[in-house]
C-alpha cells in the first residue's frame, strides 16, 4: 500500500473513532430530529396556512450551517495540536511525501463530515416518510443537490482548515482566522447562485468549490513541505 493510502486509512480510522464524530454521526442528528419533532410546525414556517418545513429541509439547513465550520475547525485544530506535540517529526523522517500527511487529514475530515450530512438527511427523509410524506423523484433530486452543495461547502471549508492549520501556530489564531476569513472564503462559490445571473449557477458553484479546494490544498502542501520542526 502506498504511504498516502496508509495515511488516509489511518486518519479515517482516527477521526471515525473520535468523540467529535460520535457527536456528528449520532448525537447531533438525534438532537436535531428531537428538536424538529418538539417544535410545533406552525412555529417553524408559515403558520397553519403556510408551507410546512419538512424534516429533510430542516436537517439540510442545520447541516449547511454546521458542516462547513465543523470541518474547517476539526482539521485545523487537529493539525495544530499534532504540530505542537511534534507528532509529525516521526512521519516526516520517513520516506514519504510530507504533504500526504495533510492531504490524508483533508480526505478523512471531508469523508467523515459528508457521512454525517448524509446520515442527517437520511434521518430527515425517514421522519418525513413516517409522517406520511410521499418521497417523490423531485424530492430525491433536491435532496441530492443539497448533499452535493454540502459536499462543496465541506470540501472548501476543510481546505481552508488545512491552510490555517498549516499556517497558524496556535489553535486560537486558527479559530479566529476560520471564523473571520474562512467563512467569507467559503461564500465565494455561492456568489453565482446568489446573483442568479448565470445559467446552471449551481454547477458553476460546484466547479468553483472544486477549483478553490484544489488550490488551497496545493498551497497548503507547498507550505507544509517547507515547514521546519
Amino acid at each position: 500500500m502506498s504511504p498516502t493510502r496508509i495515511l488516509i486509512r489511518d486518519e479515517l480510522m482516527g477521526f471515525a473513532k473520535s468523540k467529535v464524530m460520535l457527536v456528528m454521526w449520532v448525537l447531533l442528528p438525534l438532537i436535531a430530529i428531537a428538536g424538529y419533532l418538539v417544535i410545533p410546525t406552525d412555529a417553524i414556517l408559515g403558520g397553519d396556512t403556510g408551507p410546512k418545513l419538512s424534516a429533510t429541509a430542516f436537517m439540510g439547513f442545520l447541516m449547511s450551517s454546521l458542516a462547513g465550520t465543523v470541518s474547517a475547525l476539526m482539521v485545523a485544530v487537529d493539525i495544530i495540536s499534532e504540530k505542537n506535540r511534534k507528532v509529525y517529526e516521526l512521519f516526516v523522517i520517513r520516506p514519504i511525501r510530507p504533504d500526504a500527511i495533510i492531504w490524508a487529514k483533508f480526505v478523512a475530515v471531508f469523508t467523515c463530515v459528508t457521512i454525517a450530512c448524509v446520515v442527517s438527511l437520511t434521518l430527515g427523509m425517514t421522519i418525513d416518510r413516517i409522517r406520511g410524506t410521499q418521497i417523490t423523484g423531485d424530492m430525491l433530486y433536491d435532496a441530492g443537490k443539497v448533499v452535493l452543495a454540502l459536499i462543496g461547502v465541506i470540501a472548501l471549508s476543510a481546505g481552508v482548515g488545512v491552510l490555517f492549520g498549516v499556517l497558524a501556530k496556535t489553535i486560537l489564531v486558527a479559530v479566529i482566522l476560520i471564523l473571520y476569513v474562512g467563512q467569507n472564503l467559503a461564500i465565494i462559490p455561492m456568489i453565482p447562485m446568489y446573483l442568479g445571473l448565470l445559467p446552471r449557477a449551481f454547477w458553476i458553484a460546484m466547479v468553483i468549490s472544486a477549483v478553490l479546494t484544489a488550490l488551497l490544498l496545493w498551497g497548503s502542501g507547498r507550505l507544509f513541505r517547507r515547514t521546519e520542526y
Binding site: K86, R94, E228, Y229
Partner: protein
C-alpha cells in the same frame, strides 16, 4: 575536520542561523560506518539542531550533510530510508494505541507486515511494554513514551540511528537496556549518533565523542585522543601481587603510594604512558616482583567536558 575511513555520515561546514542569530557555525565531522558517536555540549549548544538537520527536519542551512552519500534534502527519500530517528520528545497521535502507532510507523518505513508482526511484540517485550500494547500512547508515562519512541526508531533496523537525548526520562534499568541495545546495534554494523547530557553513559558506549559549544565543534575524537590533545595528565594504576624490595619504580617522578601494594604514577602532558607501563613491568619482573594489575586511569568525560567547555575562551 578529521576524515574517517568509510564514512556513513558527512557533515561539512554546517552553518545555521535563526533570525540572524548563529546556532551552528561551520560544524564539520564524519562518522564511520558501525561507529557510535556521542554528541555532547551544554544546553543551547546546537546539538538538537544538528540532529534535526541530519534527519531532514530543518531545511534551511548552509553546508553539506550526507548519509551514505545521499544528501539529506536533495536525496531525501534515500537518506530517510537509512535513518532511524528519536526526537527529544517523541509525539504520537492521541487516538493511537502503542501497537497501532508502531505498526503504522513501521509500515511507512517499508517494513513488511509479517516482519512487523514479529518484530513489534519482540521489541515491546524487550522494553517491558508488552502489557501496554493495547494502551493509548497518551496514557503512558514519559519514560514509557520514550521507550515507544526508541522502538519506532529501531523497527526498520536502520543503518543510522540518530537519537536525541535517548537516555532522558529512562529509569536506570531502561538506561542500561538502551546502552546494551546500542552496543548490539554497533556489533550488527549500525552507526549510532546520539546526544546526551549524561556523560557517564556517553562514555560507556561511544567510540568517539564530539563536544559542541556555542554552535562550534570544540573537538572530536576518542576519549584517549581528546585526553592527549588537551594535554591532561594520564594516570597509571599498578597493583603488585608480590612486592619486591626495593620497589623498582617507587622513587620515579610522579609516583604516589595508594596502599600496601598499590601505586599511582602520574604521567605529565607529553609523556608516553605506554612506554612507561612497559618499563615498569620489565623492572618489576626483573626485581622478582609479580604484577596483579596495571593500567591507565584516564580522565573521565566529565573532566574533559569541563576542560573544553569551562576553560577561558572555550566558547570562542
Amino acid at each position: 575536520m578529521r576524515s574517517v575511513a568509510d564514512p556513513l555520515v558527512r557533515v561539512v561546514g554546517l552553518t545555521k542561523q535563526y533570525y540572524g542569530q548563529s546556532v551552528l557555525a561551520n560544524v564539520s565531522f564524519e562518522i564511520a560506518r558501525g561507529e557510535v558517536f556521542g554528541y555532547i555540549g551544554p544546553n543551547g549548544a546546537g546539538k538538537t539542531t544538528t540532529l534535526k538537520i541530519l534527519a531532514g527536519l530543518i531545511r534551511k542551512f548552509d553546508g553539506e550533510v550526507t548519509v551514505a552519500g545521499a544528501h539529506v534534502l536533495k536525496d531525501r527519500a534515500k537518506a530517510h530510508a537509512l535513518i532511524g530517528y528519536l526526537p527529544q520528545s517523541a509525539g504520537f497521535q492521541n487516538w493511537r494505541t502503542v501497537e497501532s502507532a508502531l505498526d503504522t510507523l513501521g509500515e511507512l518505513s517499508g517494513v513488511p507486515a509479517d516482519l512487523r508482526k514479529r518484530r513489534i511484540p519482540e521489541l515491546l517485550e524487550r522494553f517491558g511494554l508488552s502489557a501496554a500494547r493495547t494502551k493509548k500512547v497518551k496514557e503512558l508515562s514519559g519514560g514509557m513514551t520514550q521507550k515507544v519512541g526508541l522502538i519506532q526508531a529501531l523497527l526498520h533496523e536502520p543503518e543510522l540511528l540518530v537519537l536525541d537525548e535517548p537516555l532522558e526520562g529512562l529509569d536506570p534499568p531502561g538506561r542500561r537496556l538502551l546502552k546494551d541495545i546500542i552496543r548490539e546495534r554497533r556489533h550488527a554494523g549500525t552507526t549510532v549518533l546520539f546526544s546526551s547530557h549524561i556523560l557517564s553513559d556517553v562514555e560507556d558506549v561511544a567510540d568517539r565523542v564530539g563536544i559542541l559549544n556555542a554552535g562550534k565543534l570544540a573537538t572530536s575524537g576518542s576519549l584517549r585522543e581528546l585526553t592527549a590533545s588537551f594535554g591532561l595528565p594520564v594516570e597509571i594504576d599498578v597493583e603488585l601481587a608480590v612486592v619486591p624490595d626495593p620497589v623498582p619504580f617507587a622513587s620515579d617522578r610522579g609516583v604516589t603510594v595508594r596502599g600496601p601494594n598499590q601505586w599511582r604514577v602520574t604521567v605529565p602532558d607529553g609523556g608516553d604512558a605506554d612506554a612507561l607501563i612497559h618499563s615498569m613491568i620489565e623492572r618489576t619482573l626483573a626485581a622478582g616482583g609479580k604484577i596483579r594489575r596495571i593500567g591507565t586511569a584516564e580522565p573521565d568525560l566529565d573532566e574533559l567536558f569541563a576542560q573544553y567547555i569551562l576553560r577561558p575562551g572555550a566558547a570562542a
